[in-house]
């Protein structure tokens, strides 16, 4: 029998309204890895993440999570199975406290039972959130908001974490801190991560493996270390080419 990956997409087509966004996308994500989705704006990266989390349903093809077909499941069910997402723009609940945001992250029955323990673990990773736990989420700084968005996603005790635009609106120093934290979480807990990130150099630094998406199609893939050296990537994304 074929070994099952943590996540597998098979020839997924996605339409939004009448526009075709993804064309026969197939990819695999192995347990414990960080996988980056690279590509220019409007390549379909965010759509791909939303398809995995169930917010968008594919018009063709299948999505498997730990061998279970999830592409027809409702979003809340996919969360229960162990997929959690940090959406683009963070999408915190601004008029609720930091602690309430975290509580909502632990909404599923399984996560709810271990809420206190998970919160302690999350506070160890992001101590500043503990200090601010009574503050309204909308009053946090950008970096703190991103930390809260990640912490909230971790509260469901996911097996797979999807992160859309980690660096959105953050200063280089904070991006460095948060990205190091994420790599550390991955190394220490074995949490599998799929990330979409504008900053290609940063993505390749963090990731084990990457897929390149252009106009809704997968046009390249490979080990992150190898892609860093590849001429195609250097020219197109890293701004290191001769042209």
């Amino acid at each position: 029998m074929e070994r099952t990956s943590m996540l597998e997409l098979r020839q997924v087509d996605v339409h939004r309204r009448d526009v075709r966004i993804l064309w026969s996308v197939s990819l695999r994500v192995e347990d414990g890895k960080i996988v980056a989705l690279l590509g220019p704006n409007a390549a379909g990266k965010t759509t791909l993440l939303m398809t995995i989390s169930g917010l968008i349903k594919p018009s063709k093809g299948t999505v498997f999570f730990e061998g279970n077909q999830i592409d027809r499941q409702p979003v809340h069910r996919i969360v229960e199975l162990g997929v959690s997402m940090v959406p683009e723009g963070r999408r915190l609940f601004p008029e609720m406290s930091v602690f309430e945001n975290l509580e909502l992250g632990a909404f599923t029955p399984k996560a709810r039972a271990r809420k206190e323990q998970t919160a302690e673990e999350v506070f160890k990773v992001f101590p500043v959130l503990k200090e601010r736990s009574a503050q309204m989420a909308g009053t946090l700084s950008g970096g703190e908001q991103q930390m809260l968005a990640i912490a909230r996603a971790l509260m469901s005790r996911p097996k797979l974490l999807l992160i859309d635009e980690l660096s959105w609106g953050l200063s280089p120093k904070i991006i460095k801190d948060i990205s190091e934290t994420i790599v550390r979480i991955n190394k220490t807990t074995g949490l599998t991560i799929v990330m979409v990130e504008q900053n290609v150099a940063l993505s390749l630094e963090m990731a084990d493996y990457a897929y390149i998406l252009e106009n809704g199609r997968i046009v390249g893939m490979g080990e992150a270390a190898r892609l860093r050296e590849s001429e195609q990537v250097k020219n197109a994304y890293l701004g290191l080419g001769d042209a």
Binding site: V79, M85, P87, R91, F93, E95, E100, F107, R152
Partner: protein, 282 residues
């Protein structure tokens, strides 16, 4: 004057009860359910029949009325309003009003067919009994019960929305539906339960209206008008403000009756309504 204020507070507590369900659903789900008054009417009739057939005290019949209205609300949401949830906000409000308008027609006429258009009231033994607090101020016992009920509803709702997982799911969904969904919240079920709860709240107001005033098939529309005025005065969102606006309307009506005369009772609320809308639009 103290008497007028006392009556104003009682009337205001009732207006708050009549408006709270309408306001919560509008704030969270963006459905302007103008059939809310007709749900109130159904609640009133349910309590009326419970009193006359089962000899159940109206205030004790509240749990029964709430349960029936909860189921009715769930069915109406599932069958009608849930289909509007995919629409953008503005269209959703417009369409929910159209659906509500149709519902008023159906429910009011059904009530007329079933129970005739007679005006009825629930008259338990304590109707008309008053408490002489001090000379010149008489408080009807029913009125005191209404105020107590309103306070109980305020605190229960506050507890529900801030302390329970269901309440937190409701607030999260109101702030960002998609993000709430990503937390593992079943948004559709949350909406269903919340709409049903709003109908149950209409039921409470219905019981109160049948004891303190009267109930007949088209009574819902009158209370709907008051509830809409309260909704506009209070703005969207806070439970306390809905009851505050209810009191304001109740007091303003009472005072105008005293100084201007009962003929202008209905005008006061509408004038306030227009003034608020004029100020908002600028």
């Amino acid at each position: 004057m103290a008497q007028i204020i006392a009556y104003g507070i009682i009337t205001g507590a009732f207006y708050g009860l009549a408006a709270i369900g309408l306001s919560l659903v509008f704030g969270v789900m963006r459905h302007l359910n103008i059939a809310h008054g007709s749900l109130l009417m159904v609640g009133g009739f349910t309590a009326y029949w419970a009193f006359n057939l089962l000899h159940l005290d109206p205030f004790l019949s509240i749990p029964l009325v709430m349960a029936i209205l909860f189921l009715l609300g769930a069915a109406l949401y599932k069958g009608l309003f849930s289909h509007l949830d995919k629409l953008p906000e503005g269209q959703k409000i417009d369409n929910s009003m159209l659906v509500g308008f149709g519902l008023i027609w159906i429910m009011d006429n059904l009530a007329t067919m079933l129970w005739t258009s007679d005006v009825r009231a629930i008259t338990p033994s304590y109707t008309g009994k008053v408490w002489h607090v001090f000379p010149g101020v008489r408080l009807p016992l029913v009125g005191l019960a209404i105020v107590a009920l309103a306070v109980l509803v305020i605190f229960s709702l506050h507890f529900l929305l801030t302390r329970t997982y269901f309440g937190k799911a409701v607030r999260a969904t109101a702030q960002d539906r998609e993000a709430a969904n990503l937390m593992g919240i079943n948004v559709e079920r949350t909406y269903l339960m919340f709409f049903a709860l709003s109908a149950a709240l209409a039921g409470i107001a219905g019981v109160v209206s049948a004891v303190n005033y009267s109930v007949y098939p088209t009574v819902g529309f009158e209370w709907l008008l008051k509830a809409i005025i309260v909704l506009v005065l209070a703005g969207v969102g806070r439970i306390g403000r809905v009851f505050g606006a209810g009191l304001l309307l109740g007091l303003a009506e009472g005072i105008s009756v005293y100084f201007v005369g009962p003929a202008y009772r209905e005008v006061v609320g509408l004038v306030m309504f227009i003034l608020v809308l004029l100020r908002r639009s600028t």
